[in-house]
């Protein structure tokens, strides 16, 4: 069936580096995508979203890029900090209210 998946299960970076987390999706009908951050023992926390009529959206230290041609989504974190260490999930809106989550990428930031 159609699903959202992640290429890299674990990403290790040094503090201050830029991080890029990737996500592939297969449902071409999805029109809304979200990145969530999940710290240990907590629920998913909204980071940034993007609609399918856009290809880039910037937030504070984060940028989401959407490439509909290849069905690819990425999250860029600038100047990564130890507090950014968490699992990052991409999710797509695949129904009226349904969010379909990817498997997650663990980001490890070393000081």
């Amino acid at each position: 069936g159609e699903n959202v998946g992640l290429h890299l299960p674990t990403l290790s970076v040094q503090e201050g580096d830029n991080s890029i987390i990737n996500c592939a999706y297969s449902n071409s009908a999805s029109d809304y995508f979200i990145w969530y951050k999940q710290e240990s023992g907590k629920g998913p926390q909204f980071i940034i979203d993007i609609r399918s009529n856009m290809d880039k959206r910037q937030g504070q230290r984060v940028t989401v890029l959407l490439n509909k041609t290849v069905k690819h989504l990425s999250l860029q974190i600038a100047a990564t900090q130890p507090g950014d260490s968490a699992v990052y999930f991409c999710a797509e809106n695949s129904g009226y209210s349904t969010l379909t989550f990817g498997k997650g990428t663990m980001l490890l930031v070393s000081p």
């Binding site: 907590k42 629920g43 998913p44 809106n93 009226y96 349904t98 969010l99 989550f101």
Partner: protein, 115 residues
């Protein structure tokens, strides 16, 4: 800042028992959701709820599951007869506006352990 709260944080139950997981969504939100996350796996949608009705549900949300908004603040998930495979983190979420195209705020989760 308003937040979604969930109780209990951890529930241990025996197989075949009924459990009720409780959530208090953000007060001005109208749309409510339950998700689950089996250890080490991705977050999975269970059900969405609006205007005292289920809006959407996934294949996971079978007859063993039910949701209710018993009063103006609580939103509950009941599992009628728990199975070992129901062991997971259960997250409640709420959103102010319609559908998945608006930010869903997640609670901290309830860890359900079925023995």
């Amino acid at each position: 800042e308003p937040e979604v709260t969930q109780t209990p944080s951890h529930q241990v139950t025996q197989m075949g028992q009924e459990v009720i997981l409780r959530c208090v969504p953000i007060s001005n939100h109208l749309y409510f959701y339950w998700y689950r996350q089996i250890l080490g796996q991705k977050v999975e949608f269970l059900v969405s709820f609006y205007n005292n009705e289920i809006s959407e549900k996934s294949e996971i949300f079978d007859d063993q599951f039910s949701v209710e908004r018993p009063d103006g603040s609580n939103f509950t998930l009941k599992i009628r007869s728990t199975k070992l495979e129901d062991s997971a983190m259960y997250f409640c979420a709420s959103s102010a506006l319609a559908g998945g195209s608006y930010e869903q705020y997640f609670g901290p989760g309830t860890r359900l352990t079925v023995t």
